[in-house]
């Protein structure tokens, strides 16, 4: 049977076991453990600092995101305002332009109507003058051709009768 499974008490083994344990304990607690403890503390501190820094950066990022969102909102509002103003301005301008065109159209229409009336009046005046001239010329021609002596005498007598009615020369 091997010593490990030998259940019989051996003081030498116990002694050396204790010595070995003491040596290992001493080495570990005096030399290894402080180094490891220091490393672990530093590591924990670094992690804590990194976490703090990350939190700070996250907050900053959140703040910046909020600011960007607010700015974007303002930009959208401004965009809508500018667009609305531009639309209103364009509508007013279009309305003014339309009114101007309508006024100009009305003025031109009245002017053209006046012109047409004048042309019509001139036409009728000239037409009447021409007809009058033709009728007068025709009458003159008829009278000149067809006035027999007895009619001439009759006209003369009528005119002399008219002369008798005149009171003043």
């Amino acid at each position: 049977m091997t010593p490990a499974f030998d259940l019989s008490f051996n003081p030498a083994v116990v002694f050396w076991t204790l010595i070995s344990f003491g040596v290992v304990y001493y080495v570990i607690s005096g030399k290894v453990y402080p180094v490891l403890n220091k490393l672990m503390s530093e590591r924990a501190d670094k992690i804590a600092r990194d976490l703090n820094e990350a939190e700070t950066k996250r907050r900053t990022a959140d703040e910046l995101a909020k600011q960007a969102e607010a700015r974007l909102q303002n930009i959208r509002l401004e965009e809508r305002r500018i667009l609305s103003e531009a639309q209103e301005k364009a509508r007013r301008s279009a309305a003014e332009q339309t009114a101007e065109y309508l006024a100009e159209f009305q003025r031109l229409r009245l002017s053209k109507e006046d012109d047409l009336r004048k042309i019509e009046a001139d036409f009728y005046k000239n037409f009447e003058a021409q007809i009058g001239g033709i009728l007068s010329a025709a009458c003159e021609k008829i009278i000149r051709c067809d006035l027999p002596p007895e009619l001439q005498q009759k006209i003369l007598n009528e005119r002399l009768a008219e002369l008798k009615k005149i009171k003043e020369f």
Binding site: G133, L135, I143
Partner: protein
């Protein structure tokens, strides 16, 4: 400006003595009418740039058989004196002077046909009524008058012609 002075009083006396005064006055109206109704008479006779000899020949050729000898002499004298362009003033003054002398008015009646004696008498009496003076009437036939008559006296005129009616018609038809 007149080149010579003309004693119209002496002319009246000479015409009265010769018994040609009425004929002379009638010729004045006839000559005036011929000048008004024809193109060429005034244009030739009253043009200062045409030589008196040409005027004389033209006048004789045109009026030899139409006007009395006395009136022809009068016009020829004005042509010779180069005073014919004063004819209108001279003749107007002549007629006015006779009117004053005789206390009478000279009336010229232009008609399409010659007025009968009865018509002339009616016209004379009516004009005497209107002018309130004795009237010497001269009737001339004018080609311009279609019918009726035009009465002229001392720058005034009464238009009883058909032409006046036609003119009125023309005015109504073509204002």
């Amino acid at each position: 400006m007149l080149n010579y002075s003309y004693n119209l009083q002496e002319l009246i006396l000479a015409l009265e003595t010769a018994g040609e005064l009425d004929l002379f006055i009638g010729d004045v109206f006839r000559f005036n009418l011929a000048c008004d109704e024809n193109y060429g008479i005034k244009e030739i006779l009253f043009d200062e740039h045409i030589a008196p000899d040409s005027k004389r020949d033209y006048f004789r050729k045109t009026f030899e058989t139409v006007l009395s000898a006395g009136f022809q002499r009068f016009i020829l004298q004005l042509i010779e004196n180069n005073d014919l362009h004063f004819y209108e003033q001279i003749s107007a003054k002549f007629v006015r002077l006779i009117g004053q002398e005789r206390n009478a008015s000279f009336v010229e009646a232009l008609s399409a046909v010659e007025l009968s004696a009865a018509q002339q008498e009616t016209l004379r009496s009516e004009m005497e009524r209107l002018l309130k003076s004795k009237v010497y009437l001269h009737n001339n036939v004018s080609k311009r008058i279609l019918g009726g008559l035009i009465i002229k006296s001392g720058g005034k005129m009464l238009d009883f012609s058909l032409q006046a009616g036609l003119d009125k018609l023309k005015t109504v038809l073509a204002p």
